[in-house]
């Protein structure tokens, strides 16, 4: 009996969606150096997103934004024990293959980077590593899940420190889910056509009243109050990009956002942790932007 090794299956939906389940109620922080990754882990982050520039800097610098240098990703993997995520360009399956070879824990097929394909997102079923994708509406979320995404996040408007777009996307996705649950079975076909989403997924959402994968919020979170807002709206966890390391006191801001994400409905506590935090990132009014990153992907 001793030489009988138990059979194992890797990269199954249970395993890929399961890691997203483990991150629920937590904060995933963008970091550009190993030192920032340590600050994030010390503050109670559930995962870090390793990238070369935070979205606010990508927006400022312009040019083509690509997958990060493997050297910096490895440097971050070496200093933290929490999951390390990294971004691939929309449709750039070769970048995703490299990230999988680097054994990152989640790949974000992200509109923050410059898209590589104008028609096709990555076929995410072909990978062992799980993927998170952004969405602005239920149809977009279900198309990504149909391609194999195991976690959906609002796109928001990355790098702006402005929560208004993420709120729009969350309200849209959750409102459309509620509407689906009110339809008769015979009305689901037309709903699938209108949403441009796979019928089987539309039927599943109509029956369960939720996405088949966790729904997180990203794009524009800059304060503990922002985190509390999106959690109360229904986001199960939050991504914070520029909001921590573009604030005046990143260590305190990181801790405060972690606490606010867990105790999102305790206003007394959030009032206390928000007191004397110092200025949040400056932020941008959406109407002043030259380019809307959320328009990338479809």
């Amino acid at each position: 009996m001793a030489d009988l090794v138990d059979e194992r299956s890797y990269g199954t939906s249970n395993v890929k969606r399961g890691l997203a389940d483990m991150l629920r109620g937590g904060v995933i922080m963008d970091v550009v150096t190993p030192a920032q990754a340590k600050v994030a882990e010390d503050a109670g982050a559930v995962a870090v997103m390793a990238l070369e520039r935070v979205p606010a800097d990508i927006r400022r610098d312009g040019g083509v934004a690509r997958m990060s240098d493997p050297e910096m990703i490895k440097g971050i993997q070496e200093v933290v024990t929490i999951p390390v995520m990294a971004k691939a360009r929309i449709g750039h399956f070769a970048e995703a293959q490299i990230l999988q070879a680097l054994r990152v824990d989640y790949v974000d097929e992200s509109e923050v980077l410059t898209p590589a394909d104008e028609a096709h997102h990555i076929d995410k079923w072909a990978f062992t590593v799980p993927f998170v994708c952004g969405a602005t509406s239920l149809g977009e979320a279900l198309r990504r899940i149909g391609e194999g995404a195991c976690m959906i996040r609002s796109k928001g408007e990355a790098g702006t420190g402005n929560i208004v777009e993420a709120v729009r996307h969350l309200r849209c996705i959750l409102g459309e889910i509620r509407r689906l649950t009110t339809l008769g079975e015979a009305e689901r076909y037309a709903a699938a056509k209108d949403l441009q989403a796979p019928l089987a997924l539309v039927a599943e959402v109509a029956m369960t009243g939720k996405l088949p994968v966790p729904l997180f919020c990203a794009g524009g979170i800059a304060t503990p109050a922002d985190a509390a807002l999106v959690r109360q709206l229904g986001a199960e966890a939050v991504f914070v990009g520029s909001g921590i390391f573009k604030s005046s006191d990143p260590e305190r801001m990181a801790r405060a956002i972690v606490e606010a994400t867990t105790h999102f409905d305790d206003a007394d506590l959030i009032a206390k942790i928000s007191t004397g935090l110092g200025p949040a990132m400056r932020g941008d009014e959406i109407s002043t932007l030259n380019e809307r990153l959320a328009d990338r992907g479809w």
Binding site: D6, R8, D21, G26, A43, P83, V258, T262
Partner: protein, 200 residues
Amino acid sequence: MRVGVLALQGDVSEHRAALADLGVDSSPVRSVAELDGVDAMVLPGGESTAIAHLLVTSGLLGPLESRLRQGMPAFGTCAGLVLLASSITDGRPDQPALGLLDVTVLRNGYGRQVASFESSSELAGGVRVPTVFIRAPRITEAGDGVEVLATIDVGDGAHPVLVRQGAVLGASFHPELTPDRTVHALFVDLASASRSAVHK
């Protein structure tokens, strides 16, 4: 009996759904007041470093530890097992090990996410349960007072994945992520037996 599920972070709703399937009332625990209202605790899966951090900032660590030491039944899966262990290898130096289970665990002991896997394990009595391992901790040592209820062999010899010590149960896998309720039923039986022993 009311079972609390530590709700600082992690897969809280899956545990509550599993308990509901067994007809057991549960409530989320994020504060000391909520802890006071429950008879047993589930420590869910999640990121053990984040949960440990939030246990400290929420003021729950001391009261939870004291309830557990007084014999409150508990069930930890994955990160929850790490919290209940007596010794953690490769954890953060400031990470609390509550020591309710006399085991040593190696965090991420099966590797990173691409090495996460599904399998199944046989319990005593021949029942097979599905097992989902996600960046799972590996039990590398178990003390004499620990009963090993299931093992797995990933090519380097069988080692424990489900252990019990008194009314405390720990799994390195996630029974809450499958529809099988065998392991949760085991915990509910343990907790009920422990309570009736106390009330005698």
